[in-house]
C-alpha cells in the first residue's frame, strides 16, 4: 500500500514528536499559563511559560489532540526556549506564513524540526491543529502586554 500523500503530511520527525513529545508536563514556577481550545474539533492545550528578563527561559505544555497539534506543540516549545519574547512572536508569524502556504523567512531563525510541518499547508482542514500552540503563546504575550 502506498502512503505517498500521507508521508508528506506525517513526516518522520512529526511522528517522532508525537510519539515522544518534548516539554510535555507541568512547569513549576511558570509565569504564564494559557489555555486554548480548537472548538471545532475538541483539541485542547495548556501552554506554560517562564519568562526571565524578557527571555523565554522555559516552556512546557499539557493537552489532548491529534498528532499534528501535539507534535506542533512539542516543536514549538523546543524552538521558543531561549528566545526573546518579541523574537518568539516573530517566529510565530513566520510559522503562520508557512502554514498558509505563503513565502516565509527561512533565514532569520534556525527553523529546525518546525519545517517538517510545511506539508500541513496542503491540508487546509488541519492548519488549525498545527497553529493551536502558537496561537496560545501569542494570546499569552498579548494579554500580558495589555495587563
Amino acid at each position: 500500500m502506498s502512503f505517498n500523500n500521507l508521508d508528506q503530511l506525517y513526516r518522520q520527525v512529526i511522528m517522532d514528536h508525537y510519539k515522544n513529545p518534548r516539554n510535555k508536563g507541568e512547569l513549576e514556577g511558570n509565569d504564564l499559563k494559557i489555555n486554548m481550545n480548537n472548538p471545532t474539533c475538541g483539541d485542547t492545550i495548556q501552554l506554560q511559560l517562564k519568562v526571565d528578563d524578557g527571555k523565554i527561559s522555559d516552556a512546557k505544555f499539557i493537552g489532548e489532540g491529534c498528532s499534528i497539534s501535539l507534535a506542533s506543540a512539542s516543536m514549538m516549545t523546543q524552538s521558543v526556549k531561549g528566545l526573546e519574547v518579541d523574537q518568539a512572536m516573530k517566529l510565530s508569524g513566520i510559522f503562520s506564513d508557512m502554514m498558509q502556504g505563503k513565502e516565509y523567512d527561512e533565514e532569520e531563525f534556525d527553523l529546525g524540526d518546525i519545517e517538517a510541518l510545511q506539508g500541513v499547508s496542503k491540508f487546509p482542514a488541519r492548519i488549525k491543529c498545527a497553529t493551536l500552540s502558537w496561537k496560545a503563546m501569542e494570546k499569552g504575550f498579548k494579554e500580558q502586554g495589555e495587563a
Binding site: K19, S67, S69
Partner: protein
C-alpha cells in the same frame, strides 16, 4: 425494497472522485446530499416563479405563494400534524428550538421551575435552555444515561417532577445513534404538567414521523439533513401553545396592523415568520419530501439500520476499535481506534476519498460523558451501500497500519 443503485444515480454529487478516489460520503448526519429533483426544484423556482409571497397581486406572486404554502402542506402530511397552522418554517432546527426556548420558555418559566434535558443532546438543544434558565431563574436538570447510551424510563420518572415545565429530548442521537422513547417520555412529561419538545433533526430524515402519535408539543427539524437545501427547517407546535406564544422575530410579513406605538400579528403560522421567508428553501424541502415519500421512509430506515449493523460487525473485527452507543440504533456509528486520533483518521480516510466526521459532533457534554475529547463518526443514508462500508473499513485498516508503524 429500494434499489440503492437507482437511488445513487439521482445524486449528482456522488459521481465524482475526491483525491483521485471515488467519493464515499459517510457524513450525512452532518448534512445529506441532494437528489437532482431537489436541485431542479430550487432552480425552477428561481428561473420560473421567483417572487415575494403573500403580497403581490401579480401572477408570479401567486405562483410563489402557492409553491411556498404547498410545501407547508407537504411538511404537515410528512410529520402528520393536524393543520398547516402548526407548521412554521425556520432556518433550521437551531432556530426552531430557540423559538421554543425564547417565546415559550421565557413566558412560562420562573424561579423554582425546571427544564429537563439529557447529556446526549446536541448543543442546539442545550444552550438555548441554559440561556433561558439563566434569564428566568429556573433550573436545568439532566436525565442520566445508561452505560450503553440509552435512556431508562425510570430515570425519566425520577428526574421529571411537578416543578418541571419543559422536557426537551432528541429523538435520535447524532453521536450514539440511540433512538429515544419519545412517546413514553412525552407521557411522563404530560403527567407532570410539562410540555414535551423534540429535536427531530436526526430522526425525520430516517424514519416515519407522526407528531400526533408521539403527542409531543413541539418538534424541530432541519431540511438539509433530509435531502433538502440548507437554510430551511421547521418548527411544529400544537396550535393552542403557538397561539398563546409571542412572535420570535418582529418586522414585515408577520403583522396584521401596524400603528405608531402598537401593532398586531398575523394568524398562525405566519406570526412566527417575520421577514421575507425562505421561499426557495421551502420549495426545495417540499421536493425532498416528495423524493423521500417515493422511496418510502420504512425502506430507508430498514436500509440504514442494516448498514449500521453491517458496519458495526466489520469494525468489531478490527483490534483496538471502540464503538460508542447501543446495539439497536439509527444509521450512525461513532468510534475510536486506540492507535489513531480521530482527526488523523479523518485525514487518512479523506486521502482515500472517504468523508467521515471527526471531533465532538456539537455534543461536548456527551464527549465528557464518554470520557473522550473527540471521536470519529460514519453516518449513513439511503444512497450508501455495503461497498461504502467495506471501503471505509479498508481505509481504517490502512490508517491503523500507517500509525501502527509509528508506535
Amino acid at each position: 425494497m429500494m434499489n440503492v443503485q437507482d437511488i445513487r444515480k439521482q445524486f449528482p454529487i456522488l459521481h465524482q472522485e475526491v483525491n483521485g478516489k471515488p467519493l464515499v460520503y459517510l457524513d450525512s448526519a452532518a448534512t445529506s446530499q441532494k437528489p437532482a429533483q431537489v436541485i431542479d426544484a430550487v432552480e425552477r423556482y428561481y428561473k420560473e416563479i421567483n417572487s415575494n409571497v403573500h403580497r403581490g397581486v401579480h401572477t408570479l406572486g401567486t405562483h410563489a405563494t402557492d409553491a411556498y404554502e404547498g410545501a407547508r402542506e407537504k411538511v404537515r402530511e410528512f410529520i402528520h400534524a393536524s393543520s398547516t397552522e402548526e407548521i412554521i418554517f425556520t432556518r433550521g432546527t437551531t432556530t426552531a428550538l430557540n423559538i421554543v426556548a425564547s417565546s415559550y420558555g421565557r413566558a412560562n418559566l420562573q424561579e423554582g421551575d425546571e427544564v429537563v434535558i439529557t447529556p446526549m443532546e446536541h448543543h442546539s438543544n442545550i444552550i438555548p435552555w441554559q440561556q433561558v434558565v439563566k434569564a428566568t431563574g429556573a433550573t436545568l436538570k439532566y436525565i442520566p444515561l445508561q452505560p450503553d447510551g440509552t435512556i431508562a424510563l425510570e430515570d425519566v420518572e425520577k428526574t421529571v417532577t411537578e416543578n418541571t415545565k419543559i422536557v426537551s429530548v432528541m429523538q435520535v442521537s447524532n453521536v450514539l445513534g440511540t433512538i429515544n422513547p419519545i412517546k413514553e417520555i412525552a407521557a411522563i412529561a404530560h403527567q407532570n404538567g410539562a410540555v414535551m419538545v423534540v429535536d427531530g433533526a436526526q430522526s425525520t430524515p430516517h424514519m416515519k414521523i407522526d407528531v400526533e402519535d408521539l403527542d409531543c408539543d413541539f418538534f424541530a427539524l432541519s431540511g438539509h439533513k433530509m435531502c433538502g437545501p440548507t437554510g430551511i427547517g421547521v418548527l411544529y407546535g400544537k396550535r393552542q401553545l403557538l397561539e398563546e406564544m409571542d412572535p420570535f422575530e418582529f418586522g414585515g410579513e408577520m403583522i396584521d396592523y401596524v400603528g405608531l406605538y402598537d401593532s398586531t400579528w398575523k394568524d398562525l403560522p405566519w406570526k412566527f415568520e417575520g421577514g421575507t421567508p425562505i421561499i426557495a428553501g421551502a420549495v426545495g424541502l417540499g421536493a425532498a419530501i416528495d423524493f423521500l415519500n417515493e422511496v418510502g421512509m420504512d425502506n430507508i430506515q430498514q436500509h440504514e439500520s442494516h448498514l449500521a449493523k453491517y458496519a458495526m460487525e466489520q469494525l468489531s473485527t478490527i483490534e483496538g476499535v471502540t464503538i460508542y452507543g447501543p446495539e439497536k440504533r439509527a444509521g450512525v456509528v461513532t468510534f475510536n481506534s486506540d492507535e489513531v486520533h480521530p482527526h488523523d483518521l479523518a485525514t487518512v480516510l479523506d486521502t482515500e476519498g472517504i468523508a467521515v466526521r471527526a471531533g465532538h459532533h456539537c455534543a461536548q457534554p456527551l464527549m465528557k460523558w464518554l470520557e473522550v475529547s473527540a471521536t470519529a463518526r460514519a453516518s449513513f443514508y439511503l444512497y450508501n451501500t455495503e461497498e461504502d462500508v467495506d471501503t471505509f473499513v479498508a481505509g481504517l485498516r490502512k490508517a491503523k497500519e500507517f500509525f501502527g508503524n509509528v508506535f
